[in-house]
Each structure stands twice: as structure tokens, then as C-alpha cells.
């Protein structure tokens, strides 16, 4: 930004001359400012070597074709996306045919939240707890998405919440919660339980 060399105002000037000089100075200044603003906007759109370039976004496409944008910084939490960004495959929308739009939206929200700066650990923990406070089937979908996109923090968070569903339950309760078809007769189950006691405790 070029600086205007301000002429010294002599003290002997009359008031009207001083006002005229001030006005002309102001006009020159404002012209200068608008010129440089235009310069800045033209310069920034052409090359990416300037310090103030716009944030890069990555576009993700869900199984239904819906697109979602995510900032590159937030996308780096996914190892899958990070690899693609490194290999310059992330300039076109990335298709994710096994992740539904509803789930993808929430995953993007998770990554954005965890890429924010200045969030204290306590409130982030509370936010995470709310995030997984949803239906089991939704949590399962989060798990599959986190597994596919290789987002370790989200995978740990969701797996921990499923593990919490297993804790403290008897096998019968676990079967009910997760709709697991038990292939055991009661006698078989008793035998398995006895063998497990030896194996695990």
C-alpha cells in the first residue's frame, strides 16, 4: 500500500485554503484506498501464493447424491480424505456410496467441531456425549462411516458408547439389545459360560 506524502500545512494559510487542502487530501486518500481494494480482490482470485487465500473445501457426495462441503482442515481428521488430499484427488466431489446423507451431514459436523480452536476439553466432552446420544442404529451407522473414512477419534467415541451398552448386561440382555440371534440351547450356553470363566478370569 503506497503511502501518501502529506504536504505540510503552513501556519499562515487562511481557513478556507486549509479546508480546500484538507478536502483534496481526503479525496486523494479515498481514491487510493478504493484502488488498492480493487487490486487486492483481483490479485487474490488468481494465485494461491498470497497469505490471505480463501479456505480450501472438499466436497463429499453421499449415497443419494447429496453433496456436502467440508473445510480441508476439518477433513484432515479422516485418514482416507487426508490421503486423497495429498494425492490431489480431492478437487472433484468425492463419492461415498455407502454413507447416507443424513449420516454424512453429522460426520461433517463432528469433524468441523473437532477442528475448532479454543474449545475447552470439558465442553467438547459434553458435546461428544450429546453427539452419540441417539438411536442405536444411528450410532452403528456412525461407526461404519468412521471406519470407512478412518476417523480414529469418532471411531473410538462411537465404539466406546456401544461398549457401554454391553457393560453390566447378561448375555440374554446383550442379545436383546443388539438383536443377536443366539444359536445356543440353554445347556450349550451354560457350557460356554463355564469355559469362558476359565478363559477370561
Amino acid at each position: 500500500m503506497r503511502y501518501l506524502a502529506l504536504p505540510l500545512l503552513s501556519q499562515n494559510l487562511t481557513e478556507s485554503t486549509a479546508r480546500a487542502q484538507t478536502l483534496s487530501l481526503y479525496l486523494q486518500l479515498s481514491l487510493q484506498v478504493s484502488l488498492s481494494q480493487r487490486n487486492e480482490s483481483t490479485m487474490s482470485s488468481s494465485s494461491s501464493s498470497l497469505p490471505s487465500c480463501p479456505k480450501k473445501v472438499v466436497t463429499l457426495k453421499s449415497s443419494e447424491g447429496e453433496t456436502f462441503e467440508i473445510e480441508e482442515i476439518a477433513a484432515l481428521q479422516s485418514k482416507t480424505l487426508e490421503n486423497m488430499i495429498d494425492e490431489n484427488c480431492a478437487d472433484t466431489p468425492i463419492p461415498l456410496p455407502n454413507i447416507k446423507g443424513k449420516i454424512l451431514a453429522k460426520v461433517v459436523e463432528y469433524c468441523n467441531k473437532h477442528a475448532e480452536v479454543g474449545v475447552d476439553a470439558e465442553s467438547l466432552r459434553a458435546w461428544d456425549a450429546e453427539f452419540v446420544n441417539v438411536e442405536n442404529t444411528t450410532v452403528f451407522d456412525y461407526i461404519l462411516a468412521a471406519n470407512f473414512l478412518e476417523i480414529p477419534t469418532l471411531l473410538d467415541l462411537t465404539c466406546q458408547s456401544v461398549a457401554d451398552m454391553i457393560k453390566g448386561k447378561t448375555p440374554a440382555e446383550i442379545e436383546k439389545t443388539f438383536n443377536i440371534k443366539s444359536a445356543f440351547t440353554p445347556e450349550e450356553e451354560e457350557q460356554v459360560r463355564r469355559e469362558n470363566q476359565w478363559a477370561f478370569e
Partner: protein
Amino acid sequence: MEPDFIPTSFADFPEDVHLCILSFLTPSEIANFSCTSKRFVSLCRSNAKLWYALCDRRWGSKTQIRKWGNGKIGYRLLYKTLSEWESLIGFWRRSGQRSTSSSAVATAAVVPPPPLVSFEWGPSFVAGSRVSPSEDGTYGVVKSPFLWMSLSSSGEPVNFVDPDGKSGEFGSNYCDDSIRKTDLIPVDVNFMGCTYLVVEENMGLGCSSHRNGFRRSLSSANLCSDEEEASGSENGTFGSLPDRYMSEMYQNFANRTSPSRSGAARRQRKREKARQGKRKWEAEHFVKIIDCSPTPSRPLQGLWKGIGDCMKLEFYLVTYDEIGGIACRRVGEPADRFSGCAPVFWTSKAKFIEPPFSLEEAIMYDSRVHLHPTDEENFMFGEPPMENEPVSRILYINSSYDLLIPDLAGTTATDRRNEGRIWQYRNGTFGFGFLWDNFIIDLKHIALNGCLLR
């Protein structure tokens, strides 16, 4: 038009995901889970990947799971051992005095080792280090590793003591021959519950009279099955320990057979006397220092270091009792409240005085001299001198357990002599002093979040 979808069910997950979920559970919960279907039985049983995931989840951030046992150990065994050894991590104090009956120990000029010991995770072992105040007049501490506990490929504990603290790094590659060449002494580490530890020389190594070359690390259940020979080796030294009740308990559990079986006991004692002559290292007993860090409701609790009026750095332990009292002792003294040793300070009610402080209190504080390290120019990390630290709260303390009868006519100067103050600073540390002099001993943490502060 959304295509028909079958909701994701638990069974649809790939194996990696199942393992990730199971890694958050305890073994008994996994046992429950595996009863649910044939598929999960085979997933959970004898699955090295599962046990590795469990180890990694619990200790992966603290130690390198894959390096334990030379990388060949079974992970189920590793899980069991690490769960036991996890209770070692932290600070312990040596208890009892060294016996003078053994001829292997040199003269009385031998300085007893420092009482404070810290156990930490290593990459493939647990390391015990003696922590002592540095003698250079600063707040620095000296940490010298002396005990290494690791596992062989078959899961047997392999523990060594370095009596002189000379060998630096403990390499994980070793063999029996190399051990004898170095100064490292094989030891057994025996747990009595979670808070009492006995480290004693493993005389069985190289001794043909012993059944096994190595002895397993003992839990209280295993102690019952030991032969009397194996654990009776401390008969000669136990009598000299002040913590006699602990040693008697230990003996009782270790020697399930009646100790009064005269023939065997006499023969065993004779063997022991002969063996003690060859002992290179005296057994040491340790008691765990629980509560070695402050908490929000107990801000003065834990291990501290400060420069006393002898201008030497000393370690202090501040403990709270169940009725709201606080006591401070130098580390190494027994924590028994009614022992003969007077505390450094104590108070029966930890009730702080909040600002604004009375003029008398302000004068008392301002007129005092903070005892500084002598080497002030080389302050580590540029800590500000304590004079600039604002006082946030004051606590009344006493220096001796002598009864003060409050109703006697007036409190004379001699009665108030033992009175003192704790000045808690805004940064969480505190200083203390007594009315008999005008010094303040400023204390700093020995460790924060498990890391030793230098």
C-alpha cells in the same frame, strides 16, 4: 425414493470394529458377551488380536505393548501381568530399617538409600527409581533407576536390581550369561495387596536346590501355594523391622504350612543362614503412598519439596485424615499418627481463613523471610521468588502433638511457640512457618500429573 434399507445391525460390523468395541471392556464383560452366539465365541476365545487390543487400549499410550517379552509374549498373559503391575505406578516409600545381621552388607558407614521411590512405565518394562533431593541447594531432585521389572518371552517375570545405580539404560536384550557378568542382581517382587511390596534377591537363580529358575510374581492367591522354603528366606531379617505386624502378615500368608514344624523349620533356618552369607543385596520393603497429589477438596495433599532452615532440600508428605485434619511428615517416617515421631506440622481442622486478612496476620507474613535456594542465579525456568506470589488463604497449624490446654490463664509465649501458619499461594503451592522464628519454608510439587518435576 429411498431404496429399501436394512438397518445396520451389530453383527454386520467387520472384525476390526468388533475388536475396537471389545477393547473398551474388561475380560469378564467380554466373557459375558461371547456367550451370545457361536460367532462371538470364536471371535473372543484365544484371539491374540483381541488381547492385544485390550492391552493397547489400557496401556498403549504408556508403554510399547509390542516390545514386551521380546515381542513374543502371549497377549493374554501380558494383560494379566500388566493389570497387576499397574498398581505399582506411582510413589512408594521404603519402610523398615535394613537389618544389620547380614554380613554381606558393608559397615555402618553405608548410607541408607533414599526413602522415596517412583515407579514408571518404560517401553517394555516397569522401572523403579530412587528419588532424592539434589545436594546443590536448588529445588532439583535426583532420580536414579535401580529396579527393572520385565517379562520373558514365555511370560515369566524377569526383575533386576542395580544396587549401585551405575548401569544406565536397561536393554531388553539379555541372556542368562550376560546377567551374571554385569552387576545386576535378579530379584523377586512380591505384592501384598496393592499397597505393600517386598523386593528381595532371588537366590534361586543358579542355585540347584530351587525348583524353578524364576519365581512367578506373586499375587496373594499364589502366595498360598509357595513352599515354605521359597518365601521363608526372610526369617532372619523380619524381626528387626518396625513394621512388624505387616511382616508377620506376610509370613503368615507365605508359609501356609505351620511354622512350628520343627524339623523342617530348623533345617530351613540352617539353609537360610548359609545362604544369607552369599546375599548381595538386602531385601527392601515398600509401602505405597496413596493420595500423592492435591485434589480440589484437598489442596495441600501430596508430596512436596521444600528448603528447610537447615538450607537443605527435603521431601514432605501431607496427608488428610477422615475427620478433616491435616498432618505433614518428612518422607520416610512412618505415617502412623501415634508413632513417636513428631510431625512437621498438623492441624485438626483444615479450615482456611479467607482474605481480607487482619493486620496482625499481614504483619506476621510480611515480616518473614522466605528461605531461598542458595543457587538463586540459576533458577530453573525462571520461577519468580515467592515474595511476589500473593497469599490466597491462611491456615493455623501446630508443630507438635503436645496438648495445649486453652482454658489456662492466657497463652504464654512458650505455649504459642508451637503455633504456625500455612500461607497458600494463588498458584496452588504453599509455604509454612512457625512463631518461634520468622522464616517461611516454601513448598513446591515433587510431581504433577505423574511426571517428576526437576
